[in-house]
């Protein structure tokens, strides 16, 4: 479960103060499917980064599965990020030098899992995401949809409780976008909390809970 209380995130642009998040209170239960929508600069990406522990709020507290994660050290936060959170980005963020299989393997290496177990888990994941025949291709040799599938496989190989997607279909055409959404929703059905940040009304509408943001505040929260 994710519980944010009075979260504030302030950026300084020159001598101007921008309140990207302005006293956010939010609770997301485990297994929910949530979309966060709003115009550019409304703070939705910042909210996702705070939930994903990539960004530290200036004030407020964040409780993840009963632990106050705002108080954790950088190394401990990295571990929480690794084990409980999966990120899916609009631009995939695959490492160009590594093959699809090696990209998927990265979280297992960071976790310190041995090579034999890594191999079997990567194989299983490649099968589950229908990437077996692309395993030894580099990202530049993959289509957009395949790249996003690799990215999602990487994000979920350590079985995180929450999957955070920032415009996951933003760089894809309609048909591959739909495939990626179906994949994400299948993961949601398997029990993962799914939070999607998007401009796309159609994609946003598919979620079971819709949060709207404007100027760093939540202005709508419907189920």
């Amino acid at each position: 479960m994710i519980r944010l209380t009075a979260i504030t995130r302030v950026f300084h642009m020159g001598d101007q103060e921008v309140r990207a998040l302005n006293g956010i209170d939010l609770e997301i239960q485990s297994g929910e499917y949530v979309s966060i929508m709003g115009p550019s600069g409304s703070g939705k990406s910042t909210l996702l980064n705070v939930v994903g522990l990539l960004d530290r709020p200036n004030s407020g507290s964040y409780e993840l599965d009963g632990t106050n994660v705002t108080a954790l050290s950088e190394t401990e936060q990295a571990r929480v990020r690794r084990e409980k959170i999966g990120f899916v980005f609009q631009s995939f963020h695959l490492i160009p030098r590594l093959t699809a299989a090696e990209n998927i393997e990265l979280p297992l290496i960071l976790e310190g899992i041995g090579p034999a177990e890594r191999k079997s888990r990567v194989e299983a994941t490649l099968d589950a995401f229908e990437l077996r025949d692309r395993a030894h291709h580099r990202p530049s040799e993959l289509s957009g949809g395949q790249r996003q599938r690799v990215a999602i496989a990487r994000a979920t190989i350590l079985k995180p409780t929450a999957l955070l997607a920032d415009e996951p279909t933003g760089n894809l055409d309609h048909r591959t976008g739909a495939e990626v959404v179906a994949l994400l929703e299948a993961l949601h059905h398997a029990g993962t909390t799914l939070i999607v940040v998007t401009h796309d009304r159609e994609l946003g509408a598919r979620a079971h809970r819709h949060i709207s943001m404007r100027d760093g505040e939540i202005v709508g929260d419907e189920k």
Binding site: A78, H93, I109, A155
Partner: protein, 400 residues
């Protein structure tokens, strides 16, 4: 992330940026190779000089007429004033000192050697039988100016002279004319080549009394003295000085130099020279270190979004720092290893090109070269690695 994965992941990175890695490894390797080759040259020169000296004989003390305070012995002494000459009687007295194992008086001159219609100007040494062991010379044939036969007209020829005058190889017992006197060839010196300016292959050696007669002189050019042991060199030197001062009416008019002192000086100079060139070569290693730093800083800038991604999938800052650190380590390790190999190859080529120069790289230089490469590489990676680890993941992911 464990150590093995860190090393293998960074190794893959090094390999995938092939051109960049090759160039930086080359820079590193040249630095290390320069250290190895230049110290091999310096040390080779030192060993060469030491070898030349020891081929002159061990525990050698040289007595020359005239007082010259300056070191550098041979030349300045040859030009020095001679208030009182050294004589054969001086040599005899010195030979009675307990610290002296043996000695050989020495006269040098040039005379015409003729036999069977052949004629040649040769450098003639006048000496005694003791010259052979003192100067580490060996005979290939016959006998040296044998004891008790000092007053007979014997001559010992260098190998080249023997070959030129008696091509059929049986020089021993043959008659040969030197100046106006007739000599009998008693021995031939084994081929030895040049040592400290004396080419024994083209020398003729006759008994010292005959040489004095030939050159119409009663003085000696040098007395070569061999001390009983290394420890006896200094006592022998002062005893010789004392004895000759008494004989020369209290005049301190001879110079006594020891080979050890000359050798030590050369050794010091060439050691300093070796260190100097090693230092200069080490500068190129420092430059290579700066190159590594620059390359790693560029790598951090290039891979900003990758670093952000690693953080997003849960890499702690420490892991990121270690990855960049390991990458620099691989580069300098490869540079060090290749430089080591290149340097030794270079030294080998020098030895092949100049066989008389023992251009072996000293162990300390190889170790120091490689170690300096590693240390500069590691130092140079500290700043870039820290910078990578400090990157804010949100900004890094968006490429800012």
């Amino acid at each position: 992330m464990n150590l093995r994965d860190t090393l293998s992941l960074s190794f893959m990175t090094v390999v995938s940026y092939r051109t960049r890695s090759l160039l930086i490894v080359l820079a590193m390797a040249l630095g290390v190779a320069a250290v190895v080759v230049l110290t091999a040259l310096g040390d080779g020169a030192r060993n060469y000089v030491v070898g030349q000296f020891s081929s002159l004989g061990t525990n050698l003390i040289i007595v020359l007429p005239g007082r010259s305070e300056t070191s550098g012995g041979f030349v300045s002494a040859a030009l020095g004033q001679t208030p009182r000459d050294l004589t054969l009687e001086d040599a005899r007295i010195v030979g009675q000192l307990p610290q002296v194992r043996r000695l050989a008086p020495l006269n040098v001159g040039v005379a015409e050697l003729t036999s069977g219609g052949k004629l040649r100007e040769v450098t003639v040494l006048g000496s005694t039988a003791e010259l052979l062991p003192i100067r580490n010379m060996k005979l290939s044939k016959g006998s040296f100016l044998a004891h008790g036969a000092e007053r007979s007209a014997q001559i010992v020829l260098g190998s080249v002279l023997a070959q030129e005058f008696f091509p059929d190889g049986n020089a021993i017992g043959q008659r040969i004319r030197l100046g106006d006197s007739r000599f009998m060839v008693s021995g031939v010196i084994e081929q030895q080549g040049e040592a400290m300016g004396f080419n024994t292959d083209e020398l003729a050696i006759i008994p010292v009394e005959y040489a004095q007669e030939l050159f119409n002189t009663s003085t000696l050019f040098r007395i070569l003295v061999e001390a009983r042991s290394r420890n006896a060199i200094e006592p022998a030197k002062s005893a010789i000085q004392h004895t000759l001062k008494l004989r020369h009416d209290g005049e301190d008019d001879v110079t006594v130099i020891t080979q050890d002192a000359i050798l030590a000086t050369f050794d010091r100079i060439l050691r300093a020279l070796t260190l100097g060139v090693a230092g200069i070569a080490a500068i190129s290693l420092a430059v290579a270190g700066i190159l590594v730093m620059n390359v790693m800083l560029v790598a951090v800038a290039q891979r900003t979004s990758e670093i952000g991604l690693l953080k997003a999938i849960g890499a702690p800052s420490a892991d990121i720092r270690r990855l960049f650190f390991a990458e620099a380590l691989w580069l300098s390790l490869a540079g060090g290893a290749i430089g080591f190999a290149l340097g030794h190859l270079g030294a080998l080529l020098i030895r092949l090109a100049y066989p008389q120069l023992p251009a072996w790289p000293p162990v300390w230089a190889s170790v120091a070269g490689v170690a300096t490469a590693l240390i500069t590489g590691i130092l140079a990676s500290l700043l870039p690695a820290a910078r990578a680890a400090k990157l804010d993941p949100v900004n890094a992911l968006s490429g800012k």
